[in-house]
Assembly symmetry: D2
C-alpha cells in the first residue's frame, strides 16, 4: 500500500504533527509506503513529490508550518485538473491519499472522492469555524499567542491611561477573539457574527476608565460596525489593497480616540498568530488526527474525515467538513458580555 | 443573596479565574453579595473570612494560585466540624456556597449538601482524573509546562547521547504523562495505570540509540515497575520520607544507566507544573465553570457541580465528582505506543 | 529623609523593578520615607501623589508598566511649571527625587537639577539609544518578543514560499532591529542609521528564494529607503495620521511583492514589544539601577544618573543622558550583513 | 584554508549559533572550507568527522544543544592522544581549529596551542564563572528559565503558606542563583561562595511569614551550610551516588520544615536549565563570538579566545580562560541581601 500525503491552504501549527503521526503509524503498524505531494493540490496536479518516511518526519513534531509546503491551488479550476491528478496518483503508485486542509482543500477532496479517488481528510482551520469537530488544531496556539499579547498590553494601557485595540484573526467567525478576549480579560469583544454598536463600545470603554482601569478592546478582523453608530469610512479601510492594513482595529482605535478624548492604539497581531511551535493541546490533537486518519485508510473508510467529539476522535463524511460554518452562538457571546464594561 | 466562596486542596492554575467569574457575574447580573472563606474548609470552620467583591477580583485572571488560600482541612474529621460550619455560614448571612476543589473538597461539599447546606461545586484536579468532566482546568497548563521541558531536554539528550528521564505529576492517573509525552515526542511513556516492563523500556531506549536519536522517557510519579523486570529497590525510593525525593524517575534513570551503559539523567518537574499563569484554555474553562456555577446558584440547583462535555458546560450531581477516578484507557495508551521505541 | 519617585515617558518593562528596589533599599537600609508622584512630571506639577512604601511595592517585580503611571508632561512648557514643582515638593516634605525616564524626563531632571532640585536619574529607553550606558532595561524584553515573533514567522514563510516583513520599534536607532534580526536569523535588517537600497533588498530576497529558504525582512519603524531605488510613495505612508499605520513595513512588503512576484506580508509588532513581564536580564538591570540610584541619594550625589558599564553600575552626570543618541555603528551593522542574502 | 570546528563539555544554549556564525562568515567572507569534528576532542582524536557547510547550519540558530555532539574526552589523558589529534588534523587537511567549550575543552586547546596546533577558542560555561568575559552565552537562558520557574512557584507558596526551595545550577559559582534570585524576588539566595548560616535562613523565612507573604529560597547546587547552624547530615545527601538527588535543595527544605513548622517543598530544576532554544541575548552573544572567532582565524591570531567586554567583543589569550574562576563578589551579594527576609 502506498499512501500520498498533502497539506493545503493557510499554514497552521500542528500540520507537521499530523504528517508525522500518519507516517509513523502507517510505517510501523501497517507497513505502508508514503509519497509526499508538495504545496497542496499543486503537488499531485503537477507531479511534484518528495520522499516521505520515518527519517523525514524526525524532529518535526514541535515545528510550525508544514514540511510539505502549501498552496491554494484548486484542480477543479484548471483544465484537465482532475485527470492530471488521477494520472499522477497512478504514476506514483498511490493507492490512497491523506489530505490535510481547510474548507477549500477538503472541498476538492470531497469532489475527488466522488470521482473514485480514495481520500481521507484531516480538517484544518486556525479559525476553528468547522461545524463537524469540537476543535481544530492550530486554534489553541493562536488563542494562546493572542492572550499573551493581551496580557502584555494591559500594563501599557494602565500605565498610560490608554485604550488598546487588539485585532486578531477571524474573518467570518469570532472564535479567536472570543477565547482570547475571555482569557485575556478584555473590556469588549467584537466579532463578525454580531455587527457592533459603536456607541456601546464607547460606553464600555468610558465605564472602564471610571473604575480607573484601562480598557482592552479585542476585535476580530472580520467584525463590522452597525450603520448609524459610527463615523468610520470604508474608503479609509485599506490604503494599499491589502486587507490587513488600516483594518477594523485601526478604525475602531481612531473612532474611540475621537469620541473618548483618550489616546487609543491598535495592534494587529497578524501572521504571528499562525506560525511557530504548536501548544501541547494542538500537538496532541494533530497527532491523534493523524493516527486516526491512517487508521481510516487501513479500514478502507474513504470519503471520511476525522473529527474531535469530547475527547474522542470520530469519523464523519467529508461532505460534513464544508457543509456549514460554525459560528459563535448568541449564548456563548452572552457569557462573555458579563465582563464587558 | 449572600454567597460564600472557598478553594480547597492543591493549588491549580485557573482557581482565580473561577473566583473572578463567580463574583463578576454574581454582582453584575444577579446583584449578589459575596464572602470569601480563607484556606478551604478551614475558613467556614474557624470563621476566617475576607472581603470579596469586584475590587478584590480585579487583575487576578492571569495569576496562578488562589487569592482565597487553600488547605486540606476536613470538617468531618473535626469535632463538631459540621455544626461549626453551619453556625459560621449563618453568622455571615451566607445563603449559598460555591466550593472549588478536588475529590476531598467536593467530598465534603457532597456530605454537607446532604445535610442541607446549599452548595454548588466546581471541580479542580490538575491530574485530570475526574470522570464527570472531559477536562479540568490546570491540566492544560501542567501539560504545556511539561511539554516545554521535554522540548528543552531533547537537545541535551542528543548532544550528549544521553537518556533523559522526566518525572511528571500523576499519582493515580497518567494523563499528564500521556499528553506531555505525546506532545513532546517521548520515546516511552510510563503511567500508573499499567505497571511497566523494565526489560521493554530498556529495549525501546536501545532501539532509539540505534537510530542515532536520543531517548526521552516520560514517567508519571505514580508509575510502578512489574516485578521481575527490574532491580530497583523500594528502600532507595525515599531518603527523607518525602515522596518526590529519589522517586520513580531517579530509579528508572539509575536502572537504565546500569543496563544500557549510557548516561541517564532524571529531571523531576515537581511544583513548577502547578504554579503560575494559566494557559488560555485553562482561563477559558475556569471562567466558564465560574459563570455556570453562579448560574446554578441562581437557579437554586444545589448539590450540583459544573462539568465540561464537548464544548458545553453542563451540571452533574456532586456525587458524580468523587464516584470514580478517570484513568487512561488501554485504547488511548495504545495510540501513544505507536511512537515508542 | 523623604524621597519622591516618578516615572515618565513611554512605558517599559522594568519600571516597577526600579521603583521596588529604590523603596526596598531606601526603607530597610536608610530608613527613608517615600512619596509616589503620579504620571511623570504631572505628579509634582499638579501635586498628584500616592502612598509608596514596602506594601505598595510587594509583588510588582514581574509586572510590566509602572504602578506610578506615566505621561509626557513637560513642566518647562507650562506657566510657572518649575515654581509649582518646587512648591509641591516642599509641601510634601520631599528632600530628594528619583526620576526614572528617557530623554525628555531626564532632560527636565537635568534642568531642575541646575535649579537646585535634588534629583537622581534612572535612564529608561526601550530603544537602547542612550550613549551613557551599555544597555537600558526594557530593551532585552523587546528584543526577545521580536525574536520570538520572527521565530514564528519563519515557518509560515517557508510553508507558503512567502516574504515576511517584520516591523519593529526604533525611530532613530536600529538596536531592536539589529539584535532581533541577528537573533532571529533575518535575511535583511533595515535600520534608520542607514538609508536602505531597495534594489539590494530585492536582490537579497531573491537570492534567499534560490536556496529554497524563505526570507524574513526585519525593518525598524524609522528606516527609510534611498531615493531612486524604490517606488514607495510617501502619501501612502499614513492613512489616518497615525505613524504606525501603513508604515515602512507595509511599504516594503508591497514593493517586494511587486518586484519579486512573490507574496509578501507585513507584521507590525507595535506595543506588544513594550508591555508585559520583563525578562530576567531587565529585572536584574532595573533592580540594580534602583539600588544604586537610592545609594546616590544617600551619598548626596545629585544631578547624577546611574548607568551600566560592563557588569558594573556607575554614576554619570545627568547631562550625559541626553547629550547624544547612541546609534548602530557601521562596524556592528557589517557584522550582521554577513547573514544577509 | 580548511577549518575544523568542535564543541566540548556540557551542552549550552547558543552552541549552534556559534557554529553557524563561524561557518557563514568563513564561507561567504573568506571562502574557507570546514570540517566538523564530532563529540568534542573525541572527534579529532578518533577521526570522527562530519560535513560542515552552509546547508548543515541552516535553521540551527534557534536550536539548543550542538549539531556536532559533545563529550568530556581529554586527549592528554589518553596514550598518544596529542599525536593522534595532530595526525588526524593533518589527514583532514585542517589548517586551523575553532574549539568551543568550557574550562576543560579550552584547557586542552591551550596546551595544544603551545604544541603548535592553530586554535582559536570560544568560551562556554552556563555557570558564567569565567573571569575573562563579562558574560558567557547560555547563562541568560538558564537565568530566564530559573526565573520563570520562581515566578510560577510564588503563587503556590502563597496559596499554601508554604516554603518553596528552588535548587539551581552552580557548583562553584552562584551566578545563576544570584541573577534568578534577584529577578524572581527570592526571599534568600544561597551560593557556594558564602557558606550559609542556617539560623539566619530560618529567620528570613519566618520574617516573611509574619508579613503574610510566602518565602522562596533559591539555592545553588554547590551551596554549603556553616557548621553548627544546621542538623543536615551529609549521609542523607545522596541516596544513589548521583549528585543531584537529595541535594542541598532537599536538605534545606527538610531543615526548614523541621524548624519553622511550616510545609516546605524543594524543586530541583536540573537539566531543563541548559536545554532548548536560547534567549535573544544568548543568540546575539554566541553569534558575535562566532563571527569574531573566525575573524581571529583569518588574522592568524591563534592561541586566543573571544570575550565580551561591555558591548565589545575582544580577544584575550586562551590561558586567561582557565586562569581563575569568576566568583560572586561580596559587594554583589550585598546588593541582593537588601531583599532578604
Amino acid at each position: 500500500m502506498r499512501v500520498g500525503v498533502l497539506t493545503g491552504g493557510g499554514d497552521c501549527p500542528g500540520l507537521n504533527a499530523v504528517i508525522r503521526a500518519v507516517v509513523r503509524k502507517g510505517v510501523s503498524e501497517y507497513g505502508y509506503e508514503f509519497v509526499g505531494f508538495r504545496d497542496g493540490w499543486r503537488g499531485p496536479l503537477e507531479n511534484i513529490t518528495c520522499e516521505l518516511g520515518i527519517p523525514q518526519v524526525r524532529g518535526i513534531l514541535p515545528r510550525g508550518g508544514t514540511i510539505l509546503g502549501s498552496s491554494r491551488t484548486n484542480p477543479f479550476k484548471i483544465e484537465n485538473g482532475v485527470e492530471r491528478i488521477k494520472e499522477n496518483l497512478a504514476a506514483n503508485g498511490v493507492d490512497a491519499l491523506v489530505a490535510i486542509g481547510g474548507e477549500d482543500t477538503l472541498g476538492v477532496a470531497t469532489k475527488l472522492s466522488e470521482l473514485d479517488v480514495k481520500v481521507v481528510g484531516v480538517p484544518k482551520t486556525i479559525d476553528n469555524d468547522l461545524g463537524a469537530t469540537d476543535f481544530t488544531f492550530g486554534f489553541d496556539t493562536a488563542v494562546n499567542i493572542a492572550t499573551e499579547a493581551i496580557d502584555r498590553l494591559h500594563t501599557t494601557a494602565e500605565s498610560h491611561h490608554r485604550i488598546m485595540v487588539v485585532e486578531v484573526m477571524g474573518r467570518h467567525a469570532g472564535w479567536i477573539a472570543l477565547h482570547a478576549g475571555l482569557a485575556g480579560g478584555a473590556n469588549v469583544i467584537l466579532i463578525p457574527e454580531r455587527p457592533f454598536d459603536m456607541d456601546k463600545v464607547v460606553e464600555y470603554v468610558e465605564s472602564r476608565f471610571r473604575t480607573n482601569y484601562s480598557p482592552i478592546v479585542v476585535v476580530a478582523e472580520g467584525a463590522v460596525p452597525k450603520e448609524g453608530t459610527h463615523s468610520l469610512q470604508s474608503d479609509e479601510r485599506d490604503a494599499f489593497g491589502h486587507v490587513r492594513l488600516g483594518g477594523i482595529g485601526d478604525m475602531v482605535a481612531k473612532e474611540l480616540e475621537k469620541r473618548t478624548g483618550k489616546e487609543a492604539r491598535a495592534v494587529v497581531l497578524g501572521h504571528v498568530q499562525r506560525g511557530g511551535t504548536p501548544t501541547a493541546f494542538d500537538r496532541w490533537l494533530a497527532t491523534r488526527f493523524g493516527l486516526h486518519a491512517i487508521e481510516a485508510v487501513h479500514d478502507g473508510d474513504f470519503g471520511m474525515m476525522v473529527a474531535l467529539r469530547g475527547t474522542d476522535i470520530v469519523r464523519v463524511p467529508l461532505t460534513d467538513a464544508t457543509k456549514e460554518l460554525k459560528l459563535v452562538t448568541p449564548e456563548l457571546y452572552a457569557e462573555a458580555e458579563v465582563f464587558f464594561g
